[in-house]
Amino acid sequence: MSFRRLLERGPSRRVHLTVYAGDESDLLEGIDFRNATVERRRLPPDDADGFVVVHDEDEFVAAVGPAELARLVEPAVHDPWSAALGREYRRLYELFRGTVFESLERRQLLGATREVEHRAWTVGNGTLRVGFQRRAAFDDQLPVYARLAAETDLAVHVYGAWDRDPPAVDGLSYHRGNSDEIGSFWFLAFDGGDGERAGGLLAEERSPGTYAGFWTFDRTLVEELSTAAVEAASAAE
């Protein structure tokens, strides 16, 4: 399945969010979800900050407050090897995995990207595929991927629609593709290595700085992302 189709179809998770807050609260407002239903229930008093309850279909998953949600909206972006990417960071991305956001900002996606890369770094082996829409975006991140390649046993494959390959770096393989798929999407796929901690992300820039996309820790979906990358690249060669 192509990236285009994978993004259209979206992950299979069906999330239900209930916002318990006062009438004056704007919790979760302005966040555009595609495959999540959002319901609001009044909590007194009018200015109650409230919290959000996450259900997977009918199953309670978690209740999360505004401070935590703010970290999703404005993540502190760390390097993949940073100790700051601990349990709390991961927990938040676990909560909203498989949810398609219609208008994410670049920084918000970068937060999710770091979570996937952190898994790759921690496991230290397996295959990490990463695709960029813009060459400049990769040039920015080159030091990160260079270090991942140098200091782990990860096989790192980089995909882009650029004219010339970026500078050769030990452990990084470059794949140039056509611009329908490769170069039109921002994606990651980490197969989990022998740690079984797969992670992936797929996003498309819809307007400057605004993306539609999702992140996932579902192994099957990550494999689909990986396959889409490999197939698109081989079609171009």
Binding site: L43, A62, A63, G65, E68
Partner: protein
């Protein structure tokens, strides 16, 4: 005797005292207070939803993520301890057949006290 008549009888036994110590005992626990605050707005809820609300309100608002285990523990304590106390104070009625709880008719002093407590408690917790 209906629950309402029991309460009125207890009050009259004490000579028109608007308060019962059952009421203040009911208010003395944080989870019970949050349950009452929610019932101010929603006069009948499932016990499961009430547990979710109490868990979120008591813990998620101060920066924690409340997971399934903690929510289930709160559900159990509501069911076995807190709701029976609220029922004994005549503040709620538990329908065990439908696993739901509804607000009983509160006297004006009771309602005002719960509302006042809500304002104070939710205000104090603001950073």
């Amino acid at each position: 005797m209906t629950r309402e008549n029991c309460r009125i009888a207890r009050r009259e036994g004490r000579g028109e005292d608007p308060w019962s110590s059952d009421f203040f005992r009911a208010l003395s626990d944080r989870y019970r207070r949050f349950a009452l605050y929610y019932l101010l707005e929603h006069d009948r809820v499932s016990i499961e939803e009430l547990a979710t609300v109490v868990a979120g309100w008591a813990h998620a608002t101060d920066g924690d993520v409340v997971g399934r285990e903690r929510r289930d523990r709160i559900h159990a304590s509501l069911l076995h301890r807190h709701l029976p106390e609220l029922e004994a104070a005549g503040l709620v009625a538990v329908d065990r057949g439908s696993d739901s709880v509804s607000r009983e008719r509160w006297s004006l002093p009771e309602r005002e006290t719960v509302e006042q407590s809500l304002e104070i408690e939710t205000d104090r917790e603001r950073p």
